[in-house]
């Protein structure tokens, strides 16, 4: 072998192999003992040597001739930073027409007052959104239940469209709704402006109704989904599930529900410790059970795909995109630097701007740590203010204890808001962090499948990325 120089990489052991991962997130599966040989410059495997050179793990020159390519690829991996904030969440109201047992948004009764955005607030917020330099702007309407405020949705969209005649950005809209009360008027607005509806479906009726606190919830949601599909088109309605404690026992039934309802994907989403969900009695136990649930559900989804049914799991797909493609993802929870502020800003019904959806949920419990300023404040004072500058010191996992030398760092992210809410400080302590444990377990499980069952799972995983 020629004399070579090492390039930056890390390694871990999974399924009896050494898994080497470089700064780009490119992965190489090698026999146990390979890293020692690489470091000792005693490689005796010609094929491995060539793979290491070709995949930027070692270089035959001190300065690799393809360093510019390597740098361009690294920049592409972080390209979500180039355009600044693209996702703008408008929390229209806390009013809601359901009683979800794990409500994370501290929703209030449907007839509550003083908890909704006024037209003046919407106008100020939309103008503030356009201060973001991003060429793509997504307005996402949340609550409570935002469909209870159709007039403010219409006003916000029409105002954005009017301003955009000068701004010429790519605008898109998402309405996060439980689909209980999608009026004809609201659906016509959605149709006119191509609004995507993101609804919540927790599984079969027995799970959904119990989670949502109403006996007719499943029936109403399914009727709403059907109505929205008829007016907007099938592809304009997507669904999310939240894994309540009850749901943990039903991974297959939940997947079957989604398949039978005509969805082609599912996001197996763990509970977040906000709002009512923070009252969960035993988080450690829940977390352990969630990881088991996730693996069982993913295995069942792989089986479905083997039967010829295209159906993908969204969290795994995000991780696979990071592993198998040169591209970044828009998923804010797995970004470094963190998605907070960089990729998302929240305009709340209370007239304030928050760093993330979770930040405004904390505020409902009296914690205003991530309240960045009033919607009437200057854009620069909000996104370059002291609070954001302080977060900026700790929002890159490349520079965090426990993360910086983690082999799977490239597939993970940093989340100061979650660290603050679960561990009491924004920096976080990885050995006791559930997010760390969950992400590690899921990422390592996916890698183990790629090692142990390559021929079986890789065609399926690749189909999810198309």
């Amino acid at each position: 072998m020629k004399r070579y120089a090492l390039l930056p990489f890390n390694f871990t052991r999974i399924s009896g192999k050494e898994v080497l991962i470089n700064e780009l997130g490119d992965m190489l599966i090698t026999p146990i003992g390979s890293v020692q040989k690489i470091v000792d410059h005693s490689l005796d495997n010609e094929e491995l040597y060539k793979s290491l050179v070709a995949n930027f793990f070692i270089s035959e020159e001190l300065l690799p001739s393809l360093l510019d390519v390597y740098a361009s690829r690294l920049r592409l991996k972080k390209s979500f930073l180039d355009d600044r904030t693209a996702l703008h969440i408008f929390v229209l109201t806390l009013r809601c027409n359901q009683n979800c047992v794990y409500c994370q948004a501290s929703s209030r009764e449907e007839n509550s007052i003083h908890c909704s955005m006024t037209p003046e607030m919407m106008e100020t917020s939309v103008k503030l959104m356009f201060r973001s330099p991003s060429p793509s702007l997504t307005m996402e309407f949340q609550g409570g239940e935002p469909s209870l405020e159709p007039k403010i949705i219409k006003y916000g969209i029409e105002l954005a469209e009017e301003i955009n005649q000068q701004e010429c950005r790519k605008l898109s809209y998402v309405l996060c709704s439980n689909c209980r009360s999608l009026s004809d008027e609201l659906l016509q607005i959605c149709k006119q402006y191509h609004v995507l509806i993101s609804t919540s479906l927790d599984g079969p009726s027995c799970i959904h109704n119990k989670n949502r606190g109403r006996e007719d919830s499943y029936e109403k949601t399914m009727a709403g989904i059907q109505k929205a599909r008829e007016v907007l088109g099938h592809e304009y309605v997507s669904a999310l599930m939240t894994t309540s404690e009850l749901a943990l026992d039903y991974p297959k039934e939940i997947v079957d529900e989604y398949v039978n309802d005509g969805f082609t994907d599912i996001f197996l989403r763990a509970l977040n410790p906000y709002g009512l969900a923070s009252d969960n009695e035993d988080w450690d136990k829940y977390n352990e059970r969630f990881i088991t649930f996730y693996k069982e559900a993913l295995e069942y989804i792989i089986e479905k795909n083997k039967q010829g049914i295209f159906f993908r799991e969204d969290y795994a797909t995000i991780i696979l995109r990071k592993m198998l493609t040169p591209y970044t993802t828009g998923f804010v929870d797995l970004q470094s630097p963190a998605g907070t502020v960089n990729s998302v800003l929240i305009y709340n019904y209370d007239g304030y701007v928050y760093a993330s959806d979770e930040s405004r949920m904390l505020a409902e419990n009296g914690d205003f740590t991530f309240r960045l300023g009033k919607i009437s404040d200057k854009y620069e004072d909000i996104v370059y203010g002291e609070k954001v500058r302080n977060m900026g010191k700790i929002w890159a996992n490349e520079a965090l204890a426990g993360c910086s030398d983690c082999p799977i760092r490239a597939y993970c992210g940093a989340d100061p808001v979650r660290n603050h809410s679960t561990q009491g400080d924004m920096y976080g302590f990885r050995p006791s962090s559930f997010v760390c444990k969950k992400n590690k377990a899921i990422i390592e499980y996916i890698i183990s499948l790629m090692i142990e069952r390559e021929d079986e799972v890789m065609p399926i995983f690749r189909s999810w990325l198309r």
Partner: protein
């Protein structure tokens, strides 16, 4: 239980990283005596498996430390090229 570690072989950096990951489960006190470091671990039940696991982690961190040391400069250049305006960095400037 007590572990004795030769600081000629394993750096403070490597030991600290292993201790960091174990500090959620065990109380670990560190004492430096010349070039030997003593670690007193409270809470470890199976001494043999703890020792084996500890030194496995330590060896991994030592390998990572060697890789980091050898690739520190190229990593800096890589990040500068990716995110800065330093397109004209040459090999001569690195090897100076």
């Amino acid at each position: 239980m007590t572990l004795q570690i030769d600081r000629n072989i394993y750096s403070d950096n490597c030991i600290s990283k292993v201790v960091y990951w174990l500090s959620n489960q065990y109380a670990i006190s560190r004492y430096l005596e010349g070039k030997k470091e003593l670690l007193v671990i409270e809470g470890a039940c199976d001494e043999e498996s703890f020792r084996k696991s500890f030194f496995e982690k330590l060896n991994d961190y030592k390998l990572r430390e060697i890789i980091d040391a050898e690739t520190k400069d190229i990593r800096t250049i890589l990040y500068a090229k990716a995110f800065g305006d330093f397109d004209d960095i040459t090999e001569e400037e690195i090897t100076e």
